[in-house]
């Protein structure tokens, strides 16, 4: 019986795989091109750019609304956040933000948008439906990374010159703890279980893994790549697989993405991608990871299962942020 079951599974797997291959789930990836004031739209099935549209000035951070209808982009040099229709790519409206918005994150309630204002030492909270500023939260110098806890109760903001991860209670919008990390923290990312918060330090060259329960640093991950000078290893983007087992860390001008085991914190592998890799995003099925490579004007596609870069896609100049549609 077990043998039959195994054989059946194998056959089923092959057949299922071919089913998926013929009716693949194509998502759409959106990439902001900082220097081109444009957005590249990628079909994740064909892995090619299907459209490029001009958007506001210096587009950087990008998220999607919970229902997948809107893409929301920080247009930093316009000092606002712009909303576009995800299907038609038509401009919908402008959301208020403080000056020079850079990164943003949406609360699981789908309404509250948290925006880091690099110029003003503030995190601005905006209701995306009413377009009203709900509140402003003072944080450290040059706020950047925005990590929302999966239960929506805690927001972590990193400040690049203060070198802290600020823990913010999303009920009263007050900071309740601040954790010092290495120089120039760029990105904060919770795992799904909320047992780890990963914070990348670009200039420090490390990733701190913090226990959200007591805000103590569990470990600091260092990266060493033969033939790459230490100064070039600058961790920025972080993505953790849905099952919390593997973390991907983008290493900037080292042109590599590190694959890290989240239980041993060992680096398993370095995947060579384009130049100055910063932000990353998974497809909703968790199979592919897209990386923005600013200095080589392309996006690398990583196959998550095999941990290999399978394609690079030419986009606009200085691609910065990336998001993939939920459907």
């Amino acid at each position: 019986m077990p043998r039959i079951s195994q054989a059946w599974s194998a056959v089923a797997a092959v057949l299922l795989a071919s089913c998926y291959a013929t009716s693949a789930n194509a998502y759409t990836a959106y990439v902001t091109n900082e220097k081109d004031n444009s957005l590249s739209v990628i079909d994740t099935d064909k892995l090619e750019v299907i459209k490029t549209v001009k958007i506001g000035q210096r587009p950087r951070g990008i998220v999607m609304s919970k229902d997948g209808k809107w893409i929301i982009v920080c247009t930093s040099d316009d000092n606002d956040v712009k909303v576009y229709d995800a299907k038609t790519l038509e401009f919908v409206k402008t959301l208020p933000s403080g000056p020079d918005p850079e990164l943003l994150t949406l609360h699981p309630d789908g309404k509250r948008l948290y925006i880091a204002n690099e110029d003003d030492n503030l995190v601005t909270v905006v209701d995306i439906e009413t377009s009203k500023v709900l509140t402003e939260i003072p944080v450290g110098v040059e706020p950047e990374g925005m990590g929302m806890s999966p239960d929506g109760k805690v927001l972590v903001n990193t400040s690049e010159t203060t070198n802290m991860a600020h823990f913010i209670d999303t009920q009263n919008h007050k900071t309740f703890d601040n954790v010092l990390v290495d120089s120039r923290p760029r990105v904060a990312m919770f795992n799904s279980a909320q047992t780890q918060l990963w914070v990348s330090s670009e200039v420090g060259g490390t990733v701190a893994v913090i226990n959200p329960a007591d805000r103590k640093i569990i470990t600091k991950i260092n990266f060493e790549i033969p033939g790459v000078e230490k100064e070039a290893i600058q961790p920025v983007g972080i993505r953790i697989t849905k099952d919390d087992k593997i973390a991907f860390v983008a290493l900037g001008p080292a042109n590599r993405v590190a694959v890290v085991d989240t239980s041993t914190f060992k680096v398993l592998k370095y995947i060579l991608v384009g130049q100055r890799v910063w932000q990353m995003y998974f497809t909703p099925d968790g199979k592919l990871l897209f990386t923005t490579n600013g200095a080589s004007n392309d996006v690398s596609v990583i196959d998550v299962a095999s941990q290999k870069a399978i394609k690079s896609i030419k986009v606009g100049r200085y691609p910065w942020g990336v998001v993939v549609s939920p459907n």
Binding site: D119, T161, S183, Q194, V203, D244, G286
Partner: protein
């Protein structure tokens, strides 16, 4: 078998294969538990406490020596009364923003005067807790100040002068330096010119003793990186007061004449530390050649148009605070205050010895909008940093240049390196 509605044309293309797939899926659903996507673990709650760290107060003193100098040529380069001080003020503001979350406050006193007044004032302020002193003073005055505060709990940061000797044979154990040295500046520019394959330099050297020292640095850089000084000329023309109604008519005659008959060269390296004549050179040479050194292409610790590595926000904060653009000395003073703030936030204390020792240690680093961490050289307390190579309006490059290697840190390809140092005070 119920399918979602499909247009007739599409349906014709979808053969029995699709139906088989559906059947297979259905069969799987009956024989095995549903093969759902791997579920995410459910989130553990995060407790929210309220704690306050112990309060820490750090005091800094800024001393600025009154000196009478010839004014620079361009109206754009005229000194501001708060040059340097403004950068330190921004550093204090940045430290206090950070300090808000750590219950730390930073305070700065400013003293201006001649060196004796500054020493007297610094000694008094030191007694009331100003342990960190940022000094914009001449090299001799720096040594006087350092010696007066010797054996006292004082750490001086030199932001005012590029003199190599105060980091070398005349170095003092209680002085660190955030201003780049002449040798660092010359090396940064030389690396770029060598990378550019413009190795033949015509050196035009001004008459001041500072110009002689800077010329030495360029001669040393040429030798170090394989450039060649094809000819040297001493610039002794008295060009007169910087401002007169008129003047260009004569300069337009003087400079080409001075440059006549030179050996073949790629660039003209004008050596004029106080910028009293160098800006007369661009577009006035005998043969058309670019100018570098003290005009044209220059190497510097900061440029008011630098926007790399988050520099935009830094420039904006400075402008908001002061209403003007940031100059290199403002940057050098900002780095000094941020170094102190960084040490205090890492060590969570204002204890002088702890902070001083940490800033001197190899583990110390401070992010200073240079893309890489900066820290202090262990053998003489000089800030280890990349330098900007720029035109008056825009960044051209950042040195060290690619291909110039170093056993420990490529940043040590700029300026006098450990094996060459003459500094003894740091090793005692």
């Amino acid at each position: 078998m119920a399918f979602p509605s499909i247009l007739p044309t599409e349906r014709s293309r979808i053969s029995g294969w699709r139906a088989a797939c559906g059947a297979l899926l259905l069969a799987l659903a009956f024989t095995r538990p549903a093969v759902a996507e791997e579920a995410s673990p459910s989130p553990a709650p995060i407790p929210i406490p309220s704690t306050q760290p112990a309060s820490v107060n750090v005091q800094i003193l800024y001393v600025k020596e009154n000196v009478s100098k010839e004014l620079p040529l361009s109206l754009l380069d005229q000194p501001n009364p708060d040059d340097g001080i403004a950068g330190a003020k921004l550093g204090i503001a940045d430290n206090n923003t950070t300090g808000r979350f750590l219950n730390q406050t930073f305070k700065m006193d400013v003293l201006e005067g001649d060196i004796d007044e500054l020493i007297k004032g610094a000694t008094e302020k030191l007694a009331s807790g100003d342990n960190f002193i940022i000094a914009d003073v001449a090299p001799d005055s720096l040594l006087k100040l350092a010696d007066a505060l010797k054996d006292k709990p004082a750490q001086i940061f030199n932001v005012g002068n590029p003199d190599d000797s105060v980091r070398e044979e005349n170095c003092r154990a209680n002085v660190m330096h955030t201003a780049p040295t002449r040798t660092m500046i010359a090396d940064a520019l030389a690396q770029y010119l060598v990378w550019k394959k413009w190795p033949n330099w015509l050196l035009v050297v001004g008459p001041s003793p500072k110009d002689q020292l800077l010329a030495d640095a360029y001669r040393r850089a040429a030798k170090k990186f394989g450039a060649k000084i094809v000819e040297e000329r001493q610039f002794k023309i008295d060009t007169g007061n910087r401002r007169a109604d008129g003047g260009f008519e004569q300069i337009q005659q003087q400079i080409p004449q001075f440059m006549q008959g030179a050996k073949d060269h790629d660039i003209v390296m004008v050596v004029d530390e106080d910028q009293v004549f160098a800006d007369y050179f661009p577009y006035r040479t005998w043969v058309p050649r670019p100018i570098a050194g003290s005009a044209g292409l220059v190497a510097t610790s900061w440029h008011p148009a630098l926007e790399l590595w988050g520099g935009t926000q830094f420039q904006n904060r400075f402008k908001k605070l002061t209403g003007r653009i940031m100059r290199p000395i403002d940057y050098d003073a900002w780095v000094a205050t941020r170094a102190i703030g960084e040490a205090a936030s890492r060590k969570q204390t204002s204890d002088f010895k702890t902070l001083r020792d940490f800033m001197h240690s190899p583990n110390f680093e401070v992010a200073a909008f240079k893309g890489v961490a900066t820290n202090f050289r262990a053998w003489n307390g000089q800030l280890r940093e990349p330098l900007i190579v720029s035109t008056p309006k825009q960044l051209v490059s950042v040195s060290p240049q690619p291909g110039f290697l170093h056993q420990f840190s490529v940043l040590d390809t700029l300026g006098l390196d450990k094996p060459e140092t003459k500094c003894k005070a740091y090793t005692q």
